[in-house]
Symmetry: C4
């Protein structure tokens, strides 16, 4: 049929550019986080600069948690491309869809930082924050399944049992954020602590496999 560009070499090339584009979005989303931290102005720092800087702790907490979580997402996004080496249009769009989730992270982070010091809205902000990561984790699972379904896009030497191990692991993602969201209804701080513990758990457990 009329596919003059050829299918095989162009597909292979695409994967590289998908990764470049994704790396760009990850890098920008993660670096934009700092813009949400507002510099204390001279006239607000009459009690000294240090207390003014210390008062920004909610912004620092948001920065660290989001940075670390996006970092883990980036590492996991890499793992996909150790298996998926070609891409079709469905995978391309699943990737754009997933990146729409990642690029949005500075917003729930800023909401969290703004409302963490306020007892009235703190828990809602933490629920919103966790809820967004449920969405991202679901998008990530959609991306993974789009990549492996049919086997057309996989490397030649991938073993089925390996895919299933990963699939099971990724399924935990959305569930774990459902838990942090549920906890956030009761306590924002307990939820964020759990967020951190989960991040450490994910990084250690994945490392173990390798």
């Amino acid at each position: 049929m009329s596919n003059p560009g050829g299918s095989e070499p162009s597909d292979l090339a695409e994967t590289t550019r998908v990764e470049t584009f994704a790396d760009g979005v990850f890098a920008i989303a993660i670096t934009l986080l700092v813009l949400e931290i507002k510099v204390p102005h001279v006239d607000e720092a009459h009690g000294g600069l240090w207390p003014a800087l210390a008062a920004l702790w909610p912004s620092y907490v948001g920065y660290v948690i989001s940075f670390f979580t996006i970092g883990i997402m980036w590492v996991n996004h890499h793992v996909i491309f150790q298996y998926v080496r070609k891409c079709d249009r469905a995978f391309l769009f699943a990737n754009v869809f997933f990146l729409m989730g990642i690029a949005f992270v500075p917003f729930p982070t800023a909401v969290l930082a703004e409302h963490l010091p306020d007892p009235a809205t703190r828990n809602a902000a933490a629920v919103f924050f966790s809820a967004w990561f449920i969405v991202i984790a679901v998008m990530f699972n959609i991306l993974w399944h789009t990549g492996i379904s049919g086997g057309r896009l996989l490397r030649a030497d991938v073993r089925q049992e390996g895919l299933e191990t990963i699939t099971r692991r990724y399924r935990i993602g959305p569930l774990s954020y459902v838990v942090t969201a549920a906890v956030a209804f009761v306590s924002a701080w307990a939820s964020l602590t759990l967020f951190f513990v989960l991040a450490v758990f994910w990084s250690l457990s994945e490392r173990g496999e390798k």
Copy 2:
């Protein structure tokens, strides 16, 4: 003549860097969209955080539509480079010209988000939004024609009929945004809905070809 850098190998290398640069601009433009969504401050959230977050729906609509549309543009930009493998200065500048259009998207998006809740200016904002995508689609066609005209920049194995199919398809782009712009004079919402339908249509139809 005095072309010490050699023409053939450097031209090939250029294409890669054009793609890297374009991917950078796409990735940044798409990620900057989130900066236009303003965090509800503590003193604006006295009725609770959820209503305050819900009141930002126009920003979310703008974010999703622009993200998805830039995403499709990015996918289509890739398609060009499945055919065009070398680049001369005319193509380089056509690409810069096209990216000028893409990098501007956060502005009409922010205008749309700001004015979507306002009945007096809503339709004008949607016309402006569609109008900008007419401009981008025209720039895209210029880029495509600069790339394929003369055949000098094409891969060796490209077939003429394939180019013509693509050319016909891309010609629909500006026309479809003329329609959404026309509809926006009457109803912003109908126009945006059509925008979405067209985006889905484009992604499915292109996928069909492959």
Copy 3:
């Protein structure tokens, strides 16, 4: 001596990463330009959205001129790497120095856009704008000379006469911006028009050589 990383292969690899980093800075600087264009708010658009959007013309002028000029700088930056294929530390730092100039462009652009409608400060803003491009053009010449001096970093097949042609051409850069700066003391508009004419001239003349 103690150079365990090996000199030859790592030097070659460096060039790629220098280009990637530069492309990143170019792409970001060029895309950040749009952030300087302020969305007309609903309460400012009581005369209608179209007049409010039209009133932003100085921002559009600044956006287009800076985008196009950074684009030309990016194209010229590529030309350097058609000749320079290895890099030492001096070249790395000359590149960082040059990028410091490029990354600063959104600032004089915003100054220009802010003051273009004000007769009292318009010319000063245009002088400042041109003055910054003198600085960038000088930095560009320093980068070029760092790259070609000694011949150590050049491709093997580069011919001396070709280098001299380029060197002569690049020397015009700072001079041309000195002229636009001088004209800006008298008329901001004449200066910006000249800016445009020069940009077109540069793109055409360089294309001719190839």
Copy 4:
């Protein structure tokens, strides 16, 4: 065991993408610095535009120092990848951790620029600025040690004595910023001058080795 993606080739591929991602974060952090420089508005420039632009000197100082220092960090980050050619999960996370430090730099830079003209808070701002570079330098040493420990991730032809030279050199980093921080308690200007001298020293000394 269940590692279907294969360990050896994917590890090699990872290094490239780690560098791309890092280059992205460096490029964005360094380019965002300009956003902290506030354009003098028309109504603030009644004494003329030039005095208004001159009054922004603290922002320019912050921009230049941070740009140059991030630039040096970027050059040093490259040096790591002349030795480390594979990466495991520990190295990936050490890299994310280090980039968290780099991406934060626009904040202490903006704090410095805001408080440099204020005698009451100037020194504290300079201490904060130096303190952050102590943190980054420590993170950099952690990254380096994660990369070279065990030797698993190193290029085959790396010599032990070369690693030790580099290790000794990098150890000076945190110490030198401890000195600039200590000096900042007495004089912000002396501290920033020392910052500059150190930057020049680092760039010259590293160049000497090559």
